[in-house]
Symmetry: C2
């Protein structure tokens, strides 16, 4: 088993979908990543920042999942990062209504001493400079550094983004972002270009259309589970990343063959996340439910072909 | 091994993609279906109609693939169905530039006597009344009738379309068409509604995002092979259907488990079709090449997970 350190936002979200809307609820990339990774009962820590308005019960929830929160700085006089958004009817696109950076504007992450030797580092979506700072604080070289990012940083901090990309082993990115980053429409060509930027492994997330894992000339594909209803897509990408990182930490095997399994676990966990608002579904997810759904994934994708 | 009868267009296409354009070349749903199914060296016949302008060499090509053409009516004084279209830069959408029905306007299909006992019937995209007429000509009830159709018939012949849908075992349809036919956005819910219209098996084609096979509460997914370049998508859906039908005819097993393999074969063959203009790639496809690509599909999708 490897130690996992997660950096990312711990935040408030307010979400509106065709099915309803929420007040300020628990959100943030590191929250979703942590909840998802915690399914594997690993030794994990979150590095983040919140304000004095952040309820103790949210911190307790994270602690209850056996995640170390000594790296979550609490700025008593500050306010927690807040995002609100509204999904369109097809659930595939959304408008951001509010982004209040608040304490995140001056976030200076500090990796707890006990986690400076973590074997796996998961860099959730944040300013690339903040992500870089976490890599630099590690005292032993991690076996695997995983980066998640988004188009926003391509628009406004591309040089810094390239710096952090050059230092990671795995990047997770969505299809449109992969196209924007490389100027290539074909995801196969885009992944090859991203390889040359640094990451040996490239995961391209296609939302309801699944995810692709590229490594050299190898490619693996995991579909998203076909669902009757997507209730709230918020956090699905982070939940995917958390499942991916958590599984690798638990199994302590970063071969390409095992990364296939990590992608399947990531897709499986993400398929739960979208069933309820926010983190609701992930808070109360049993390993039995996860195992049942993994079997559904097998039925969905596995076949026994005879060449004729 | 089962006999396969294919009804559909045998036609001229003129295609423009970002990579170039063609003059009038060999096209048509039945052509693509036949070329694809012929990979399985089965006993197949095409039922169609062409004009006196249709070159003998095209007919010879079909015959060389061991496909019976006694059901292709040649109207000496008539002109062959002609379609031309232009693909947009993303290759996912296209504009139809010309549709000249010509001899197709009065197509009255005649199933050759030797194929009125075919176990498998593949109804390529055509007016639903023409498709119905083929079903009615079968002297023994086929083991499997497969229907392909498109949104055009939903717009202008919906009642007839419902009649033919109620009489088939399998429908292949793309995602947007499934949504249009059912008024449901979720493909899971759409497939369930289509089941109630008749077909026990529903195949929803999602182009570059793969294909879903639904049967009762079971679902199977086959991705499209991630390609560096899609040169010309024309005929990919028909090639998929031809591979699906051809494999089932060859293996003589219409269980859901075996239909998974049929979907994989369909996807595999379609991945070749898009590599060159028109039927160019399918004309010269060796079984070695198909086997190699099937292995790529296995590597793309198969995993060995341990529950942890």
């Amino acid at each position: 088993m490897s130690k996992l350190v997660i950096v990312g936002t711990v935040a408030f979200d307010a979400i509106e979908t065709p099915f309803g809307k929420t007040d300020k609820i628990l959100g943030g990339a590191a929250t979703y990543i942590g909840l998802s990774a915690s399914q594997f009962q690993i030794d994990a820590a979150i590095v983040s920042i919140v304000g004095g308005d952040f309820p103790q019960k949210h911190l307790d929830l994270i602690t209850d999942k056996n995640i170390d929160i000594s790296g979550i700085e609490i700025v008593k006089e500050g306010k927690t990062f807040f995002w609100s958004g509204k999904y369109h009817n097809d659930m595939n696109s959304r408008d951001t209504l509010t982004t209040e950076l608040n304490v995140l504007a001056d976030f200076n992450p500090i990796v707890p001493k006990d986690y400076k030797d973590a074997e796996i580092v998961m860099l959730g979506n944040l300013h690339p400079i903040v992500q870089l700072s976490v890599i630099e604080q590690m005292e032993t070289k991690p076996k695997l550094v995983i980066l998640d990012t988004m188009n926003f940083w391509m628009d406004c901090a591309l040089d810094d983004l390239h710096k952090v990309i050059s230092k990671v082993d795995v990047i997770t990115i969505n299809d449109e972002e992969a196209r924007q980053l490389t100027g290539e429409y074909s995801l196969v060509v885009a992944a090859r270009k991203i390889h040359t930027m640094g990451p040996k492994y490239v995961v391209i997330k296609k939302g309801e259309h699944g995810a692709l894992l590229f490594h050299d000339d190898n490619v693996f594909f995991a579909p998203a589970l076909p669902l009757e209803e997507v209730f709230d897509p918020t956090g699905a990408g982070d939940t995917f990343a958390g499942g991916f990182a958590g599984y690798l930490a638990k199994s302590d095997d970063i071969s390409f063959e095992n990364m296939k399994n990590a992608v399947i676990y990531g897709s499986t966990l993400a398929s739960f996340c979208v069933e309820k608002f926010g983190t609701e579904r992930m808070k109360k997810l049993s390993s039995d439910e996860v195992h049942k759904r993994l079997l559904q994934f097998k039925q969905l994708t596995q076949f026994e072909i005879e060449l004729i």
